[in-house]
């Protein structure tokens, strides 16, 4: 059904008039021009399209627009708006990317983890990240980076 859906996007009010059954991924990318959120598989199997809704990491390719009405949505463009976020900084330090295509989804998945579990063990991190796929094989560095970001947050707290 075409209607106006209102939600908070990266800290600002957003009002989108669209078929509310359309998936958030495409609304973000083509209607709102936020292309940092990537298409990878279209079936919630790879995690490239991960964004934050409320406090959760969700797969935007399988999240209809109507599901975010009144919610807080954060995309990769929304974190680190005033200087890099600790997770982004740690990804840089550890060179936790190669092609970079899965990276926004990885960072937002990690963001959701640290929201709920600020001091995760390495096993908790690996378990949380399990369904975010990286084909270049940066896994070890991604785990290192998330561990470091958690430590940095702890030190800063």
């Amino acid at each position: 059904m075409e209607r106006t859906i209102s939600f908070t996007l990266n800290g600002k009010a957003a009002h989108v008039k669209a078929d509310d059954e359309r998936m958030l991924l495409w609304v973000l990318r083509s209607d709102l021009g936020l292309t940092g959120t990537k298409f990878g598989c279209g079936e919630a199997l790879c995690g490239a399209c991960t964004v934050i809704v409320g406090n959760d990491a969700v797969r935007s390719c399988a999240t209809p627009l109507k599901a975010v009405a009144g919610k807080r949505v954060i995309t990769i463009e929304g974190i680190g708006q005033h200087g890099l976020h600790a997770i982004q900084q740690a990804f840089l330090e550890h060179c936790a990317f190669q092609c970079g295509y899965c990276t926004p989804g990885m960072i937002l998945s990690a963001y959701a983890l640290l929201l709920k579990t600020p001091h995760p063990t390495r096993e908790q991190i690996a378990r949380h990240m399990e369904d975010n796929l990286c084909r270049c094989g940066s896994h070890v560095r991604i785990l290192d980076a998330i561990e470091e970001a958690a430590r940095a947050a702890k030190a800063g707290a």
Binding site: R22, M23, W26, R29, S30, D31, G33, L34, T35, G36, T37, K38, F39, G40, C41, G42, E43, L45, C46, A48, T75, I76, E77, G80, L84, Q88, F91, L92, C95, F97, Q98, C99, G100, Y101, C102, T103, P104, I107, A126, R127, M129, E130, D131, N132, L133, C134, R135, C136, G137, S138, H139, V140, R141, I142, L143, D144
Partner: protein
């Protein structure tokens, strides 16, 4: 944690490129030597002689590096910018890189075969060295000081002892092209500031903030997204298509052109939904092989074998052998499965066609687009700035041609982004392969080696062991030229083409021979090997791993393999735990010693090796494309499993210093020995030999049950 170490070696860094005279013009010859399919070679286009092709210095002193190769994630952008920073004596932060743009960059045939480091990198260095020498000469004239009394630091040329008498690169060049040239300027031989240090990636800030723009991220005014009707199977033909329901949708446009039926809309998901409204009837593909019958099929349909290695006399080898062992090894089709699917955005303005394409070979795409549109190549510009993984699978870019055709027809910019299903369907898979080996040992020495390779291709089929009587043949391969129907779909280069299959077979068989001879596999390899570099990586890896001499199966689950590719060599040692009940293999630890010649960027090299270990787990243990009668049954990541966080072992990469050897490509060689090292470790753990990749739980379980 990945741990790394550098084994100290002689630190005398000499520059081989300058000494050997290799450089700007070797692209074509080097590719032929690699066995590139002749039919797909472009017309001869030599590399530029003018250093201006590779670099530009702005009025502000910022340097731009131009390279026709593509940043696929392997770090080429950083490495090439580093080459200029080194030779020009400027900070890496002040060097930008423009890559994969056919209008701005010098011709390049494609980013494959691990050639960035051995071929382009030295060319860029030489360009930087010549430019620096020219700038010093210009400064000498401007400052009225002999060149010998000038010093260069951070792009500023100063008089020694009188630093106020100075001029910057930016002031000398004023953003113009440098017209002066000097012959035979040597590159730096010592005193490196950049080479040999771990560099912070230049693409990092774009990638962690989501600003990195891939081919499907362009948003042009009026742009349409296309969804294209695809057959259900390779070989299926369209009988009829009723597009009337799609055409009725508001805003949706249907285009039929030369066999292509496309649905376009301003929003990609709407285009895909509209495509679903087309009622298409297909004539089934003719019956063909499936993933179980393919191995017989390949042997029956393969072309005449070529001899790729021969010495001595096989009959004499048979006579000498105390025991002869024969085995047939199999390898499956695997997909490249980059997370970014093939994507392109095309725009035509005033007769100029611009296509942003995820491609490893923009100059090849340029020719393909020009041919499809019937325009000269100079009217086509391809831009491949960031590509979301390639691994050999983005050499062709049919989606770029489709986008350009649709842009021409609609008069609007058009974007084509493959769905995951299209990505699997149109992938040019690594070919399935059969390797038959018959080999004999006597007194701890290999005396006989007869190897018939079908389907894999011939790279590294000829063993580097010292074998007096051998014959190696190869029939068909990844690079085309196979008889029609040998492979039921297109095949192509997959990270280290041919070599994963050939190394798996050879190194599995070496372990079996060692067991037969009653000798520890490390000792057996060293007994039969005079290649000093391979010996050194084996010994280095064994030391780091803590290899314990013994006879397999020891129950420990330790395995090794070694290999060479593109002149780089590695020894890989792994530790596994095998669940006899389920057949599941858990990899605990991987130690890899690598000889990559002069290591330009140690952290970059380690990262490539880590990536190879993880991707190697995929093709060794899980990845296999299932198909039947032309239909590709794996269409997404639910059934086609690629490595995940829980699979990742402890990885230890040891870079063996070998600065006497030129820098070698690092994106492919570290992956080649994973299959055999794991097969040998599984044997060591449970005493069964798995001869088919991937070694899935089902196959391991079946092998255990059979034993």
């Amino acid at each position: 944690m990945a741990e790394s170490a550098i084994v100290p070696g002689e630190m005398k860094r000499r520059d081989f490129f300058g000494a050997a005279g290799a450089g700007l013009f070797v692209f074509f010859g080097a590719d032929l030597a690699e066995g590139q399919e002749p039919g797909r070679l472009p017309g001869r286009q030599s590399g530029p002689t003018d250093f201006n092709a590779y670099l530009k210095i702005g009025a502000d002193g910022r340097v731009t590096c131009f390279a026709g190769k593509v940043e696929l994630g392997q770090g080429a952008m950083t490495e090439l910018a580093g080459a200029l920073a080194e030779e020009l004596d400027v900070a890496l932060d002040t060097v930008d890189a423009v890559m994969g743009d056919t209008d701005l960059c010098p011709y390049d045939m494609g980013t494959f075969g691990s050639m960035c480091t051995p071929l382009l990198w030295p060319a860029v260095r030489r360009a930087g060295a010549e430019a620096r020498a020219v700038l010093v000469q210009m400064a000498s004239e401007r400052l009225q000081v002999p060149a010998s009394q000038l010093q260069v630091q951070a792009g500023i040329i100063r008089e020694s002892g009188k630093p106020s008498n100075a001029v910057t690169y930016g002031q000398l060049v004023e953003g113009k092209r440098i017209e002066r040239h000097l012959a035979d300027v040597p590159v730096k031989a010592a005193g490196f500031k950049v080479i040999g240090t771990s560099l912070r990636r230049k693409d990092g800030p774009d990638k962690v903030t989501g600003k990195a723009q891939y081919a499907g991220d362009l948003l042009l005014p009026g742009m349409l997204h296309a969804a294209i009707l695809r057959p259900p199977a390779h070989g299926a033909t369209l009988k009829s298509a009723d597009t009337s329901a799609a055409e009725k949708l508001s805003g949706v446009r249907v285009v039929k052109d030369g066999g292509m039926i496309a649905v376009l809309d301003e929003r990609p998901d709407i285009a895909v939904a509209a495509l679903g409204k087309i009622k298409a009837e297909w004539e089934n593909a003719p019956a063909g092989p499936d993933d179980k019958t393919i191995f017989d099929h390949i042997q029956k349909t393969a072309p005449q074998p070529r001899v790729v290695g021969q010495s001595g006399d096989l009959a004499e080898g048979e006579r000498l052998a105390a025991s002869v062992i024969e085995e047939t090894y199999l390898n499956s089709y695997v997909a490249h499965a980059p997370i970014e699917t093939h994507s392109a955005t095309a725009q035509i303005e005033d007769g100029k066609v611009t296509v942003w394409a995820s491609s490893q070979a923009p100059f090849q795409v340029q020719r393909a687009v020009a041919a499809a549109l019937g325009v000269p190549a100079e009217k086509v510009r391809i831009i491949s700035r960031y590509v979301g993984g390639g691994f050999g699978g983005k050499t062709e870019a049919d989606q770029g041609v489709e986008a350009a055709r649709l842009a021409k027809i609609t008069g609007k910019p058009v974007q084509v982004v493959y769905s995951r299903q299209e990505e699997f369907f149109y992938d040019r898979f690594r070919p399935a392969a059969v390797m038959k080996i018959r080999a004999g040992v006597a007194g701890g020495k290999i005396v006989l080696w007869e190897n018939q390779v079908f389907g894999a291709g011939d790279r590294e089929a000829n063993p580097f062991y010292d074998i007096p009587h051998k014959r190696v043949t190869s029939a068909g391969g990844w690079m085309g030229g196979n008889p029609a129907g040998m492979n039921p779909f297109a095949v192509g280069a997959w990270r280290a083409p041919s070599v994963n299959s050939n190394t798996f077979a050879r190194e599995s068989h070496i372990d079996t021979l060692a067991m037969k001879a009653g000798i520890d596999p490390l000792e057996f390899r060293l007994n039969n090997l005079t290649n000093e570099r391979v010996r050194r990586v084996l010994e280095t890896a064994a030391k780091r791993f803590g290899w314990k001499a013994g006879h397999a199966p020891s129950g420990r689950g330790a395995g090794m393999a070694c290999g060479m590719y593109s002149n780089a060599c590695n020894a890989t040692m792994v530790e596994v735990v095998v669940n006899r009940g389920t057949g599941a293999v858990e990899v605990k630890r991987v130690v890899m010693a690598l000889d990559e010649g002069l290591v330009v960027n140690p952290d970059g090299m380690r990262q490539q090796a880590e990536g190879c270990v993880i991707m190697g787990l995929g093709y060794s243990l899980a990845e296999e494309v299932r198909f039947r009668n032309g239909e590709v049954l794996d269409t997404n990541f639910d059934s086609y499993r690629i490595p995940r966080f829980s699979w990742v072992p402890k990885i230890e990469i040891v870079l063996v210093e070998n600065p006497e050897m030129p820098a070698l490509g690092g994106g492919e060689p570290p992956i080649i020995a994973m299959g055999a090292a794991l097969a040998n470790a599984i044997f060591d753990a449970v005493g069964v030999r798995v001869v088919q990749l991937p070694m899935t739980p089902e196959r391991v379980k079946a092998a255990v049950a059979k034993a």
